[in-house]
């Protein structure tokens, strides 16, 4: 059940210390294919937190996001052998989750999820006075800056933040921008974010 391991593993792809997320995912996936059924449980615990943020970047509601994540895992178990190289299993999961999110967004005819999202954020932001007081000012400032970004920038930054190596071909379709401009766009979005942080400070 939940243990210290789960908590430690619920982090984002950590760069540097210990083995990277993709390598730990590859090891578990290999073990599962080798017949260790419990390794799949470990893989689900390890990767689901990152998938959550990738899927939520598309503006899906929380219930929709949960469905997409379940669909993604079922797809992996179904096509287990279809992932030829275990080292790509994390990328496979992330790409599948994003495709499915994108499909849901398009199927529900949402042009911009911002309205739903804004409402939902209000609903989500109910938290105890205690934890609100504990939240640091820096966080609030960054949050306000992120909220002021365009939907496209917010999505791009969140997907990149929670993917090891996002697939730019798929991203370019979803964000309706040429592959070559994703890198520069990422740079512009970060610049914009820094600018918002600075002006927020000045206010």
């Amino acid at each position: 059940m939940s243990d210290g391991e789960t908590v430690r593993d619920s982090g984002p792809p950590d760069r540097g210390e210990a083995a990277p997320l993709w390598a730990r995912a590859a090891e578990l996936f290999d073990a599962w294919r080798g017949g260790r059924a419990d390794a799949m449980d470990g893989l689900v615990r390890l990767v689901t937190p990152a998938l959550w943020h990738v899927v939520r970047a598309y503006g899906l509601g929380r219930d929709e996001a949960e469905d997409v994540i379940q669909t993604t895992w079922l797809a992996l178990v179904r096509t287990g052998e279809g992932v030829h190289d275990a080292r790509t299993v994390l990328a496979w999961l992330s790409t599948t989750a994003r495709r499915e999110s994108w499909r849901v967004v398009k199927a529900t005819g949402r042009q911009s999820p911002t309205d739903d999202e804004a409402l939902e954020r209000l609903g989500d932001s109910v938290e105890s006075a205690e934890s609100a007081a504990e939240r640091n000012v820096e966080g609030d400032r960054l949050w306000r800056a992120v909220e002021s970004l365009s939907e496209r920038c917010r999505r791009l930054l969140r997907v990149i933040a929670f993917s090891d190596r996002p697939d730019y071909v798929q991203l370019s379709t979803e964000l309706q921008m040429p592959i070559g401009s994703i890198g520069p766009t990422r740079g512009r979005c970060l610049d914009k974010l820094r600018e918002l942080l600075t002006t927020g400070e000045a206010r």
């Binding site: 760069r15 799949m40 943020h53 379940q70 895992w73 079922l74 960054l142 933040a161 929670f162």
Partner: protein
């Protein structure tokens, strides 16, 4: 590659999203339940038709038909006798194992009976139609199912 500054900013963003839009606490367990349910549902194997022959022995109202299904190491023999529009199936399961046998038409169970410890079972008074036979051995969560066969 990302600059160090960019990496730090992404690190701060990750923390922020984790704090402000956390994964629902029950999500991992829900996924595990969904995967577990699927695993159970898949613990069956399809018994393939090996042969379908009419024998000459015991002919009364037409020679009985014998179907053999199997996937190593399981063999299932079905002897189908027809008389005046109704049909009877005698089944033998090898290696013998007690359990439950049920007949399905279009995914619905239409008859069920026990399989004896010797691996024998029977269905009588069947209407013509397309059937599948499902075998559930005692003490096992898995099951076997035959391909569809016509009784007429």
């Amino acid at each position: 590659m990302m600059s160090r500054d960019d990496q730090e900013l992404f690190g701060a963003l990750r923390e922020l999203w984790q704090e402000r839009d956390p994964m629902p606490p029950g999500l991992v367990d829900d996924v595990l339940v969904a995967l577990g349910t699927r695993r159970l549902a898949e613990e069956y194997r399809e018994l393939l038709l090996v042969s379908d022959e009419r024998t000459l022995a015991g002919a009364r109202g037409g020679a009985p038909r014998v179907l053999e299904f199997g996937v190593d190491p399981v063999t299932l023999l079905l002897r189908i006798e027809s008389d005046a529009g109704t049909h009877r199936i005698d089944g033998w399961l090898a290696p013998p194992r007690s359990g439950r046998a049920s007949l399905e038409t279009a995914g619905h169970e239409v008859a069920a009976t026990d399989i004896s410890p010797e691996g024998r079972f029977e269905f009588a008074g069947l209407a013509p139609g397309g059937y599948r036979l499902v075998i559930r051995p005692d003490g096992s969560e898995g099951y076997s199912v035959t391909g569809e066969f016509e009784v007429r």
